[in-house]
């Protein structure tokens, strides 16, 4: 009596296009017009274990216009440098605490414009993507994977609050579509 073992891959449904790693494990939610700054949309990738990965939305000017980033500044005010975050243990002791409005970093673009990135989520900062320091352009090239900005352990009891400031993919797509209509309707001056 032995069990017959099916070859590996037989239970994987064949597809024309396979979803990305990001799509398979994360639900994307969006913060539209962050801090009332028009079009500065953020994206929060929520893993099935509730860990949040914060990044820029495809519609954010930096990503949408494929801007060249000259630097990303993680020094917030005089006291806080997001790169100096140290966490210990399972519960991430010593982590910098974040409120949804907290600034994670400032993106300086070569066109002279500067953009602030918000935490979007109430929680503990687990890590900043250190690869962005050497290669800030990752943020433009791969915002939904290697160009992520930060990983945050959300504060679960304050979960309700962070749900309310974020919208689902569908709603986000609607907002972006409406913007396009508006832009097309603006008379050229």
């Amino acid at each position: 009596m032995t069990n017959t073992v099916e070859p590996i891959g037989f239970d994987v449904p064949a597809l024309d296009v396979y979803p990305s790693f990001t799509d398979r494990y994360f639900q994307a939610k969006y913060l539209v017009d962050a801090d009332t700054k028009v079009h500065e949309d953020h994206c929060v990738l929520i893993h099935s274990n509730r860990i949040c990965v914060v990044t820029l939305a495809p519609s954010h000017p930096v990503v949408a216009f494929q801007k060249t980033i000259s630097s990303i500044n993680f020094q917030i005010g005089d006291k806080t440098n997001r790169l100096n975050n140290i966490v210990q243990g399972k519960r991430k002791h010593g982590a910098q605490g974040l409120k949804p409005e907290a600034i994670l970093c400032e993106i300086q673009c070569e066109d002279g414009l500067k953009y602030s990135v918000q935490s979007c989520v109430h929680g503990k900062l687990i890590e900043i993507n250190e690869n962005l320091v050497k290669n800030p352009q990752l943020l433009v090239e791969k915002p939904k994977s290697d160009g992520y900005i930060a990983i945050i352990l959300p504060h679960l009891s304050k979960n309700d609050k962070f749900q309310s400031n974020l919208v689902l993919e569908e709603e986000y797509m609607k907002v972006v579509a409406e913007r396009k209509v508006k832009v097309e309707n603006v008379p050229h001056t």
């Binding site: 064949a14 860990i51 290697d146």
Partner: protein
Amino acid sequence: MGEISGNNSMLHHLIELGCCKLCCLRYLGERSPSAYKNPVDTLKKKYLLLEDCEVEENPSKLKKSNVCLACLGLLQENLRETVISKIVSDVNDADYDCQEFSCALSMPVSFCLRTHSLNLYLMDKFPDPSEDTAEIRFVSVKDVWKWVAASEIADGIKKSFSQSNDCDFSITISIGYDDDEKECNCLMEMHKETYDVRKKQTRKFKDCLLSRKSVEALLLTTKPDHFQKYYPTPPEIPNNAVKCASVSLHHNSLYVAGRYNKFSRKLSQTPWLIGGERLMESSVQELLCDRIVQLAKAQDLRFSSSGREDVDVRMLGRGRPFFCELINPHRVHLEPKHFRAIEREILSTTKDVSARHLQIVSKDQVAQVKTGEEEKIKIYSAYCIMSGADATVDWAKLESLSSKCPIVLQQKTPIRVLHRRSLATRERSIFRLEVSKAETQEPKAFVLNMATQAGTYVKEFVHGDFGRTTPSLRDLLGSDVDILALDVKDIELDWPPEILPDNQD
């Protein structure tokens, strides 16, 4: 002759104080267990007890047939029989199949005071020429109780009594005494300062202001005249006898080891509960161990294995070494045929797991499997897909990876486990890496066969986890690749010993 006559006057004094026969022998320093079998005979023959002082037959000389002031009745026949019969019936009801037992008595705290008082009194009144301490000169209640009770218990429960410390089955008899608190109250005055402090240290001394150990330690430092101010020497004759408050039975853990296979991609290793709610119908642990627990009639179990695979990962090949600790087992004589039957039963009831080489292992063997966890090599097969829209499998590049081994990875704790593990960057090695064609019709798929160091996160090695594992297969190939199925093919650890088919009756 001088010693005997000295003993004789001490004996008469003990009887007058209200000591029972066995306690008389204790205080006379009698160390032969057999002397306690027939105490009246011993007292008459060895200690020249005269007929008219005979406790049993002529109680008129005593106040009345009192509760012994030294043992609080524990050694007196009536109570002894009640306690023993309760132990016997409790043990028989619990139905343990082990062959030996050890037993321990837990005495009330006030008993320490009583013993201390009587010791002081007798040491003063009958000084010992050899200048031994009371603890050496007199025989303890516990020892005598075991001498007289153990053989009776042994007969009643059909197990042999063991004096050894590593006897696996222990009976703990907790002795209760109604006047315990009343008799202990004097300590609050005797050591007012100490107890006033302790009463304030509520966290440290919560529920146990008076423990036997702490009281014994305090009494050692108490001067006799100070003690006598608060506690009578000799102690008073008690109004009540002690009683058997509880009998608790415990058998040391039994360890059953084996190797398991897991054929399902929808089965977690241990019960998966979130907020008390089950996420999966069953688990490897339950499918393997429920029957073992039933067989051993154990109270509880702890499942452990050398590593663990994810819910969606199959465990093939020789299987994964595991063991379960059976806590307080009532059946310990488990035979190979029982284990073979369990293995067959698992095969016939589920397609999801199987077990082999089931056997009893020692605690030392269990420790072996836990050490050297880091050095183990694990063999995996991964079903991978080139995930880019127009990507194709670059066989030449994949095949060239074999020669790059060992590949040393820097792995940050994967995002998927970051909620319950600490953040760290760990160095792990891939010792061998070979690519083969997938048996599916998928042109974008290939199978990666790997030998890795224990603790390597294979899924993250393939897709890179947002660049948090470097180098990843994606880095090495220079294009997006994803892992859609994973099998563990072997854990290179020869444990527990294989059971050869010859022995499978």
